[in-house]
Amino acid sequence: MRGETMSTDPATRHAAPTPRRRFDAGRWFVPVVGGLAFLYLLVPIAYIFVFSFNDAGRTNLTWRGFTLANWQDPCRPSQLCEAFGNSLMVAVIATTVATVLGTMIAFGLERYRFRFAGSANMLIFLPLATPEVVLGASLLSQFLNLGVQLGMGTTVLSHIMFCISFVVVAIRARIATLDPALEEAAADLYASGRTAFWKVTFPLLIPGIAAAALLSFAISFDDFIVANFNSGAYTTFPQYAYVAARRGIPAEVNVLGSAMFLGAIALVVGVQVWRYWRGRKLAAL
């Protein structure tokens, strides 16, 4: 393959027989550094997981022995599960709204002509260029000025705002890789614009939209700063953990954190395995 494409260039042809890698360290550098990086990423997770089994009592700072009690009753500390439920609820609503709005914007910007395309792109980019603390503080000023009662509503609104630009960017990239000829083929095969969208474009974008939604969910669920400014008395899971951290976080928090981590992995791996298996099955036909 390479010989074929390169043979027109005499310099390349000449160089080909010489050994290709003098800098052999590169071979090992990438796997070693990459592997260590993954380890670095997972060390705190491992700690969280291990200490979810600690027979800790109130503060989970030192190892006091193995127990399954934390996993059996993660809701024991008061308001922990409420905060956890709040976070899930906020993340689900914010993700749904942000994904719908973001997908619409992504389509509009990627596929239609615009007089103000430059400003529109700026409007998407600026929220990404704003640190959470600024986003949170300015939204709070706004809510205070308007006299809006802080709570779940303001938390959800702030999270939609926080997620929407990420969704737009992620989905735009997917739309850009979609072959426009597919939609033309649908139109050519008697599908009206609406039918073509629902039968061809949308099914093809589902993986991209799902990935964007997952990202949005992760960002919302993990957010502390924006929620801390805008949630008022309404407490999210990260806020609970932050407050608890001053006294020592109960082991049940580790249980929920670990469960979410494992759940996320199980979900994505499940989807991957299912697609792989389906692909194998189809290939066998």
Binding site: F38, I105, A129, A218
Partner: protein, 322 residues
């Protein structure tokens, strides 16, 4: 305008696409004009709800924050009471009082970004290039990158606090091999704060680079290997320039939250030498109820970030920042 708008919404989604709209032509047939207008109308319908949301919950708040930064405190006001005004002095005040905090914040963010790049790039390269074609393993490693988001960021920072705490075996080991002096510690140091930031924002660095390297044609690397012989040369002259857009996106996405961070500073630093702008904004807002100062600090922080990002994009020239 009111004619048949909603049913038309998906109607035109499928007509041929131009990424950049050509200017209208002097001459158009009725059909061309109809298609042209319908497409414009549908485009507007798609973006209006989202842009209305962003305007309401981002643009307006930012402007009201800018206004707030100029508010004045009337004589004998209760704490937290301010009235509209034009008090530029707040900016002078925060800049003289917190100038070095700004410098420190951006220094932390820069170091954390460079560190995350040094770690994130090999990670992305490993998954995207070295493991190309091994879809299951690739997928698994990508999940491992994203999944920590779900375990809550406060918990992860807390883990680092524990791992780096004075009693931990890490500190003990470092003391034993005399890397750390006997009275040295890791928490409450700038190093701990920067390490925490690096850790926290690593996925934001790695994912854009991965998305870029995933599309990289490996034959180019092989060709580079033929031309330059050295692996390092090939990397510097072929791979790295080709992945510039990913590196740009990753560094920007890491730098921005890192420069506004305060959770790491509070949980891993908590020391006057590690105070960041984010921490000041938070405390001006919640503890001192000094809203104008908090707003002015936010405005300056955002302005500096925008200037730095613009300069950076100009310098390394790419349009694909978002």
């Amino acid at each position: 305008m009111a004619v048949n708008t909603t049913p038309g919404a998906a109607e035109e989604l499928t007509t041929p696409q131009e990424h950049v709209a050509p200017p209208p032509l002097p001459e158009q047939s009725a059909e061309e004009r109809r298609t042209w207008r319908a497409r414009g109308r549908l485009g507007m319908l798609l973006v209006i709800p989202g842009f209305a949301f962003i305007t309401l919950f981002f643009v307006v708040p930012v402007f009201s924050m800018l206004a707030m930064s100029l508010y004045v405190r009337p004589e004998g006001a209760v704490p937290g009471e301010f009235v509209p005004g034009f008090n530029i002095a707040t900016y002078a005040h925060v800049m003289t009082t917190y100038g070095d905090t700004f410098v420190r914040s951006f220094l932390f963010a820069t170091v954390a970004t460079v560190a995350a790049l040094c770690i994130g790039y090999p990670m992305a390269y490993l998954v995207a290039v070295r493991l190309r074609g091994r879809h299951l393993l690739q997928g698994l490693l990508l999940v491992v990158i994203i999944a920590p988001f779900f375990s809550s960021f406060i918990l992860r920072v807390q883990s680092w606090r524990f791992i780096l705490s004075d009693e931990s075996w890490v500190v003990g080991f470092l003391k034993a091999i005399s890397v750390l002096p006997q009275d040295g510690r890791l928490t409450a140091t700038a190093l701990a704060v920067v390490a925490g930031m690096t850790y926290l924002y690593l996925p934001l660095m790695m994912l854009p680079i991965y998305a870029n390297l995933e599309r990289l044609d490996t034959r180019l690397i092989e060709a580079g290997g033929d031309l330059y012989a050295g692996g390092l040369q090939t990397f510097l002259r072929v791979t790295l320039p080709l992945s510039t857009p990913g590196v740009m996106a990753g560094t920007i996405l890491t730098f921005i939250p890192a420069s506004g961070d305060y959770v790491n500073a509070v949980m891993l630093g908590n020391n006057v030498d590690t105070t960041t702008v984010g921490q000041i904004i938070d405390s001006r807002f919640f503890h001192a109820t000094d809203y104008p100062s908090a707003a002015a600090l936010s405005a300056v922080l955002m302005a500096i970030i925008l200037i730095l990002v613009t300069l950076y994009v100009r310098r390394f020239g790419t349009k694909e920042i978002v």
